[in-house]
């Protein structure tokens, strides 16, 4: 039963990644794209958690920690860049 649930979960997360990518491509302004990037990395964190369950490898959790840290630093950096005067509207 768990195999089917993991398959369904991975399909849902893959669909979520595709939809978030749509917003990343067409987002009208740069902050919208940053929000989409942040959500994308959060989704990847969840996906790696599911893959850790599917493969029984607990070391994948280290990857999730690094992923979350990188996403946080990236969003902070983008915000600083925006406030210092990046492209206003692209």
């Amino acid at each position: 039963m768990l195999d089917i649930v993991i398959a369904i979960t991975l399909v849902m997360m893959a669909a979520s990644l595709c939809l978030a990518f749509i917003r990343l491509v067409m987002g009208p302004s740069l902050p919208d794209r940053v929000v989409a990037l942040e959500l994308l990395s959060t989704l990847i964190v969840g996906m790696i958690g599911v893959i850790a369950i599917a493969t029984d490898v607990a070391s994948f959790l280290d990857v999730t920690i690094v992923m979350a840290l990188m996403a946080f630093l990236a969003s902070i950096g983008f915000a600083r860049f925006l406030e210092r005067g990046g492209p206003r509207d692209d």
Binding site: P31, V35, A68
Partner: protein, 149 residues
């Protein structure tokens, strides 16, 4: 039994993530999109991580899973606040149906200054008149150079 709990947690977590992405796609505004993504996606990841902790049931894995949850709970609001602040200052447009923007009367986008509305009398008489003039007049070259820097 544990399998059932894990399955429920995984499915609800994935549903919350899907919901966050639907919000990101469908909502009209930067701030509403932030509102949708931050909370729902964090809850989804937290549920998936609880499922991971239940699946392995070792001390090291449980500690790491809860570390991820704690880290996300701490960083997601900070990141959302910083992005929303930068978006407001850059001038991203609010939704046309926005009823109230409490920052607009107090924030001066040209000088990048925020006032509380509780300053002394001379500031209220002189300062508010000044800002009204500034808001009407076009940007002076000095201000422009300062802002684009």
């Amino acid at each position: 039994m544990i399998d059932v709990i894990k399955s429920i947690l995984l499915l609800t977590g994935a549903s919350f993530m899907l919901l966050a992405v639907v919000g990101l796609l469908r909502l009209p505004d930067l701030l509403t999109r932030l509102h949708a993504t931050t909370k729902a996606a964090t809850l989804g990841v937290a549920m998936v991580m609880v499922a991971v902790a239940l699946h392995f049931a070792e001390v090291a894995v449980v500690a790491r899973a809860f570390g991820v949850i704690l880290f996300l709970l701490m960083t997601a609001p900070v990141a959302a606040h910083v992005i929303g602040r930068a978006g407001y200052f850059v001038g991203s447009r609010l939704w046309s149906g926005t009823l109230k923007d409490e920052l607009r009367p107090h924030y001066d986008p040209i000088t990048h200054e925020l006032r509380s509305g509780l300053e002394g009398d001379e500031l209220v008489e002189g300062g508010l008149a000044d800002t009204a003039e500034e808001a009407n007049s076009p940007t002076s070259p000095a201000d422009d150079g300062d802002r684009s820097h």
